[in-house]
């Protein structure tokens, strides 16, 4: 570990955003103004499940892109385990942070096993074929996500839930310290939503995997996450435990609609949209 950046391991947050400012060069289609983070600061602690929620235009996906260095901030710093993200080579970053996308790309002509093995690239980018260690790691990842049986099947033949697990396996094969998920349950049936949540909780409890997830499903986020970040127009509206963040007045002002907040059987808040009765 580089002495210049050494900090006591137990105390350093895994992810630190400090005053990160970013703006897209041109407004996205359909938007009037360019989106911008004026100056974003937050941390993600080791071993926690951290959720980012907010309306669609709040910048959730842009945040993920900044973290994985697809985008570069104009100002500010993003640190991973104390080291600036910009200092790391792309493959080195990929060994620390693994991203699980919303859905599999189409067309995708490979099998599940081939997909999962792709996650081993950051560990030896120069190698032509994967070696035995890579195959072991891939199998372990598939075992953890219960996708070993699906290994020889083409990804496109799987159901939505199975595909999601395969993508998760690929991310796990990277052996990251941080797992990042972009809308992990967006296209899934209720059953697979529950499955995915259980899987993530299991990874977090048994392996101490730090998880950062972005979701528009407030209740999933409430159930699963240790802390939440409510993002509104590129700024932190509130960060903290679910019960503090999912507060009726705050939600109504950020999302611009009427909601009610109750308590679920587990004690976590449950947000319900109050539909207009016309």
């Amino acid at each position: 570990m580089d002495p210049a950046h050494a900090e006591p391991a137990a105390l350093t947050p895994l992810v630190q955003f400090r005053d990160v400012a970013f703006a897209y060069a041109r407004p996205a289609r359909g938007r009037e103004r360019t989106f911008a983070f004026p100056g974003l600061s937050f941390t993600v602690e080791r071993g926690e499940i951290f959720g980012v929620i907010g309306p669609n235009s709040a910048g959730k996906t842009s945040l993920l892109r900044l973290l994985t260095r697809v985008l570069r901030p104009q100002r500010g710093e993003i640190r991973l385990a104390g080291r600036p993200v910009g200092d790391l080579a792309p493959w080195a970053l990929a060994r620390e942070v693994a991203m699980v996308p919303q859905e599999a790309p189409r067309p995708f002509p490979f099998t599940v096993e081939q997909l999962v093995l792709m996650g081993r690239y950051p560990h030896a980018p120069g190698r032509f074929f994967e070696d035995a260690a890579d195959i072991t790691a891939a199998r372990a990842a598939m075992a953890a996500t219960e996708t070993l049986a699906l290994a020889p099947l083409p990804l496109e033949q799987l159901s939505g839930g199975e595909r999601q697990r395969a993508l998760l396996a690929r991310a796990l094969a990277q052996e990251p310290r941080l797992l990042v998920l972009d809308e992990p349950t967006a296209h899934l049936d209720l059953r697979y939503q529950a499955e995915t949540a259980a899987l993530l909780r299991g990874l977090n409890r048994e392996r101490g995997m730090t998880i950062l997830l972005v979701s528009h499903d407030l209740n999933l986020a409430a159930e699963l996450c240790d802390r939440l970040l409510l993002l509104s127009a590129g700024e932190v509206a509130r960060v903290g435990a679910a019960v503090d963040v999912l507060e009726q007045g705050l939600l109504e002002s950020v999302f611009g609609c009427h909601v009610t907040v109750d308590k679920s059987p587990s004690g976590r808040p449950v947000v319900q949209l109050a539909y207009e009765r016309g």
């Binding site: 080579a89 060994r95 996308p101 995708f108 490979f110 792709m118 690239y121 950051p122 190698r127 032509f128």
Partner: protein, 337 residues
Amino acid sequence: MTDARRLARALAALSLVLLAVGVTALFVGSAELSPSAVARALAGRAEASSVEAIVTLSLRLPRVAAAVLAGAALAVAGVGFQALTRNPLAEPSVLGVSSGAAFGVVLAQILGLSSGIVAALGAAVFAFAGALLAATIVYLVATAPGGLAVQTLLLTGVIVGIFFSAAITVIISVVDFNRLTGVIHWLLGNLGPIPAASLALFAVLAGAGVWLILKSARELNLLALGEEASRQLGVDAERLKRRVFVAAALLTGTVVAFTGPIGFVGLIVPHVLRRLVGQDNRFLVPTAALAGGAFLLAADTLARNVVAPAELSVGVITAFCGAPFFVWILRTRSRPL
């Protein structure tokens, strides 16, 4: 069985096929040499100025080598280009590069160059100039601020190709009748015996192009995840796209320079191979090199024997194979394009 071993097995099998086709090509031809005469020539035991020596060593052998090189180059360019654009119907000639190169050569044929060896190499230089021009235009147009946009690449390639084809038509329309036939026949593909120096250059350039794409094979697999996802895995997507584009353009331009424009090889061979060895580019690239060489050599052997002593251009054979094949692909694809 490990991947490496599986690949070795596939390559061994294809090498046998290539060898078989190569031997057939050497023994069959319109000069009607007996097998023993050919064998004598190959063993070096025929008199240097005998018909069998001249035909076998100065005519058939270089032509076989040219066909194998061209076939390998086109097939590998096809694999690379299809992986780059994530479109299995992408064919090297769709890059616009082969039309640009053909335009260069046709221009050279009409304008004229200085004599001698330069004439043979000179046409190649014009071909490369044309290929470079076309590739540069396509690259510049398809490069948005964010990087090389592969979907724009396809469209731009088609348009540039059409443009240069039109330019060729203009040239053809002003050339006199006697030269016209020659130029038109060249445009159908001209696999002929190439002098040793040119052949060596051909081999070096084709080898460089194949090497570049082979090096990129694993990363090309990752590109199937989507550019952003592959970047998040640590792939330098911009460098990869540039490298593969340049390699595909180099391979295509080289083939046109030395053997005229030949179509469909870059489409047929990768597709057949995908059904045999799967989608992994690390398998496809090396097997395409061997299979492409064997395929074009077989097509050329057919082209020069089926109406002997007259010849068909090899492009005719590959097109006649290619068109129905294209239809078959479209009909048997289970998922929409």
